[in-house]
């Protein structure tokens, strides 16, 4: 009897083990990997240090599998040890993300790790940015149902990724729960299709739970955030808005106050062929929302508060004075404009000319403290009104650019930027105080030698306004870059940044760096050697400080 059972079991296990191989041969496997290696030198004049290991390496690989309605995936990560500028607590090799799921037209279920965004993300956004080392994924369960065309309801339940230590995910303390519904009326009601309008409505509710372990205060263990959103389109006009309200959420961020919080954004735009105009506004007060109230920096944020400004790409503009949202409060506006002068017109010339303008401002919100006592046991210390600002400037950016193709070989981009940033609030430099005001000019030119060979050059100058007769921050900078590309496989570039205006004559140094790259299809290898100054490396308004370094960086990326 026993041996019979063994036979049955054996047959069953053999079949079970064989199954994946047949399944895998039919399913779809995709993924990607990246490996970055650094060998660093000591370079005291720029403040670069050689770590005791001398060499650093970061790697990760994603592998995703889908077969019919089934899907599964994982990411392996390795930090031996992590490269400079990455969260310094990341170490070891192991699984950084894994999930299994099922999806059909009606329902989608995911168990394990997942990324998610409700609406504009003001209430909930779990996402990753590998270049920054940012990852606040949710580990738990997500269900999405689409009961009707145009209607989607999502439910999520999980704990957040806080860190990655000794090859394992470390989770945040709190639990995050949320539900979101979105209805695209035009897809649900076909009759609307004949009208020039388009309407989307949505609502979210998110709640976090964390035990109260504070001996002095009675902390709310469950904190909710909820609100609604809408998108309206009428012909070429478009309007969208979202408002999220947050309950009492005393935390390290806000100094354990019991104020309510809010976040609101709106965008109004008009676009037609050759023209784009946008006006956006944002109001945030006491809106830091984390699944662990004791954390800071970029740790376990449940929501996402986008900075309302353009993400610049030129080196001096992008990394010296970038701005990040102040979750404790800000009121911001932005206007963006793009117009292309048609080919054959006076300003358009033979190939057309594009003019871009962008202005953004951010101010501290007006906090009305009248009638509130700093000793009040309610710990509610002020009242704020959405979109009511004070006159304390956090950020100002005025920029313009003209793109012009002169002939088949030559094209030019001329840009100007004026940036004012309040270093006392949005701290970006240890060498400055108050407002840092800068003017940046960039000239970029591309020359196409023939169908495969091209030469590109950038000249950038940055002038910092003096403050009380003194040089502010690190003074003036100049950057020059030359890049030679051979399509489709090679590039070579040389860049030098020169801090010629540094108040300390010893620090008026050059930062030269040489980079070469080889690209074949979805594989990319780059090697660079040289000096890189300390700066903020930002992606989509989230920044990480990268210390100055001097040495060799080798990077390999591949998609499969």
């Amino acid at each position: 009897m026993v041996s019979n059972w063994n036979k049955v079991l054996r047959g069953f296990t053999q079949a079970a083990f064989l199954l994946p191989f047949f399944v895998f041969s039919q399913g779809n496997v995709s993924g990607n990997m990246e490996s970055i290696f650094q060998y660093l030198n000591d370079d005291p004049i720029i403040g670069a240090n050689q770590p005791p290991e001398k060499a650093l390496v970061n790697s990760y690989m994603n592998a995703f599998y889908t077969h019919g309605n089934f899907k599964a995936g994982m990411r392996l990560e390795s930090y031996l040890p992590r490269i400079q500028g990455y969260p310094n607590r990341f170490d070891g090799t192991g699984l950084g993300m894994r999930y299994a799921g099922y999806e059909n037209d009606f329902i989608e279920v995911t168990l394990g790790s997942f990324y998610e965004q409700f609406g504009a993300g003001l209430a909930l956004r779990a996402y990753e940015d590998r270049a920054l080392g940012y990852d606040n994924l949710l580990d738990g369960m997500r269900v999405t149902v689409r009961p009707k065309k145009g209607l989607q309801i999502k439910g999520v339940y999980g704990v957040q990724r806080l860190s990655f230590q000794q090859g394992k995910i470390v989770h945040g303390e709190g639990i995050v729960r949320g539900v979101d519904a979105e209805l695209h009326l035009n897809e649900t009601f076909k009759r609307l299709d004949s009208l020039p309008v388009d309407i989307v409505l949505g609502a979210s509710f998110v709640s976090k739970f964390q035990r109260d372990n504070n001996p002095e205060l009675i902390l709310p263990e469950n904190v909710g955030a909820y609100g609604g959103r809408m998108k309206l389109r009428y012909k070429d006009f478009y309007f969208d808005a979202e408002y999220i309200h947050k309950g009492q959420d005393p935390s390290n961020d806000n100094g354990n106050i019991y104020n309510l919080g809010h976040a609101a954004v709106f965008n109004l735009s008009y676009t037609k062929k050759g023209l784009g105009i946008l006006f956006s506004g944002k109001s945030v007060d006491n809106m830091s929302y984390r699944s662990d109230r004791t954390k800071d920096l970029q740790d376990v944020f449940i929501n996402f508060l986008p900075a309302l400004n353009k993400t610049h790409t030129y080196n001096l503009v992008a990394t010296l004075y970038p701005y990040v949202t102040q979750p404790l409060g800000e009121v911001a506006y932005q206007a963006d404009f793009l117009y292309t002068f048609k080919k054959g017109t006076k300003l358009g010339g033979k190939y057309g000319t594009t003019l871009g303008l962008n202005v953004s401002t951010t101010y501290e919100p007006f906090k009305n403290t009248a009638g509130f006592s700093p000793n009040d046991s309610s710990r509610v210390f002020y009242k704020s009104t959405p979109f009511r600002q004070s006159d304390s400037l956090y950020w100002l950016d005025i920029n313009a650019n003209v793109t012009k193709k002169i002939n088949k070989q030559w094209s030019l981009i001329v840009s100007y930027f004026h940036i004012r940033i309040n270093n006392d609030v949005a701290k970006i430099s240890n060498f400055a105080s108050g407002i840092i005001a800068s003017h940046i000019g960039v000239l970029e030119s591309t020359y196409k030698i023939n169908s495969k060979h091209s030469l590109r050059a950038e000249l950038q100058g940055l002038i910092v306004e003096k403050k009380d007769g003194q040089i502010n921050d690190q003074g003036n900078w100049f950057t020059a870059l030359i890049e030679y590309t051979i399509s489709p496989s090679y590039f070579f570039s040389v860049m030098n940044q020169y801090n010629f205006g540094n108040p300390d004559p010893e620090k008026r140094v050059n930062y030269p760096i040489v980079t070469c790259g080889f690209i074949k299809d979805a594989t990319r290898v780059t090697v660079s050697y040289g000096r890189q100054r300390a700066g903020l490396f930002c992606v989509g308004g989230v920044c990480r400080f990268v210390p100055a370094n001097n040495g060799l960086t080798l990077s390999l990326t591949h998609s499969f």
């Binding site: 779809n28 035009n186 996402f304 594009t354 299809d521």
Partner: protein
Amino acid sequence: MPNSFTFALGIVFDKAPTKTILFMKQLFILSLIFLSFQVNLLAQNEGGNPLENKKVPAVNLKDLKGKTYNTANLGLKGPVVISFWATWCAPCKKELNAIHELYEEWQAETGVTLVAVSIDDEKTKSQVPVYVNGKAWEYLVLSDPNGDFKRAMGVNNVPHTFLIDKDGNIVYSHNNYAPGDEEKLYKEIKKLGGK
């Protein structure tokens, strides 16, 4: 892999494996390895190009008008170019502007459709229609604000351009843009045959 199999087999067979069972296990594992090798070969033979069996994964994305598209079934005829870009990515914009000047001709000759997938998040997403219309692009523009499609397609960084044949197979991909790359892409599109 073998370790997990022996471990699992150990549980199923017996706690104290005899020599016979050990031998059987080894044989079993060897046959599995052999089999998977064969399966791999079969898969390779079917397509020839290892990418050819790779399909576009299904993710729901919205266009600039709010209409939902399933990326596995975009409902487009002819070859499709999927190009990942962002408003803050200078080479991406150069690539799409270069193709913009050739697009009419490309479409007439090959019936190709370009799908420009913007990975701009909420910070810069609102600037996407300003740029797209300001530049008078005629592409299908989809928005991937939380990187779901980017992740599913195995995109490390932008620009990353994929070519999909009319049967939905990914036949070519390129993770860079240098002037002239658009001509290489067009050659690959033409390889797929006319309309």
